[in-house]
Assembly symmetry: C2
Amino acid sequence: MGNQMTEMLKGTLEGIVLAILEARPAYGYEITAQLRDEGFTDLAEGTVYALLVRVEQRGFVDVTKVPSEKGPPRKVYTLNAAGTAQLAEFWTTWTFLSGRIEHLRADRTSTHQQTEGDD
Amino acid sequence: MGNQMTEMLKGTLEGIVLAILEARPAYGYEITAQLRDEGFTDLAEGTVYALLVRVEQRGFVDVTKVPSEKGPPRKVYTLNAAGTAQLAEFWTTWTFLSGRIEHLRADRTSTHQQTEGDD
DNA sequence: ACCGGTACCTAGCGTTACGTTGTACCGGTA
DNA sequence: TACCGGTACAACGTAACGCTAGGTACCGGT
């Protein structure tokens, strides 16, 4: 199915996760569950963990281990200053790209008939 | 620079090019120039050609060779039925993803960590 | 003792955009 | 003639990212 979605998530999933962490700290299993609950039903669990490892290594998040009554200890990720900056960059890039694409979609609705502005 | 943009283009650039071709047939060099003109200044020329080869092999476009007075013959790409269907799928995926991300941005603006209905 | 839910992690794979380089055609200029 | 820059296409290797498909470990209920 979502082969299209798979490719489209590249580059955006990191921003999505950082945005989630900006709202409140969370751990991997929780983030995966939340995203699946919000429509990303095919999201692989391993994808989120790999992403979290990446953003941790880049210094965008701080990590705290919190014991759980239900299983192994949770690794709770908190967005730090560098992560906030990265997230801001994400929004900038997203806004530009989104604007370009929506512009294409708007063109689509009004570009029906004749030839204009050919060269 | 646009490392962020590079990753975000994965999965979206194909849809962007298909949308351009929906408006009117075009050839590689022209598409690259148009995209650069519209803000994708760092877009590599080779990227567009590789993408066009891909969509051609998948049968989303028809190709016609047209002689040029300025250089080698142009390969003009025209969106066909399969391409139109693929483009429709792109818009579906994009609309969903865009909606989710904009939802996250909307949440960001109301940063009271008070519990309120977020949906 | 077993199973399912919780919670984490990893190796290899396929796809995609980039960097770089090369080919070929043409008109203008020294 | 010889060279250069703009036009136009193509190929090769690299890096990044999400997915597949596993595995480890803790816990309570049957």
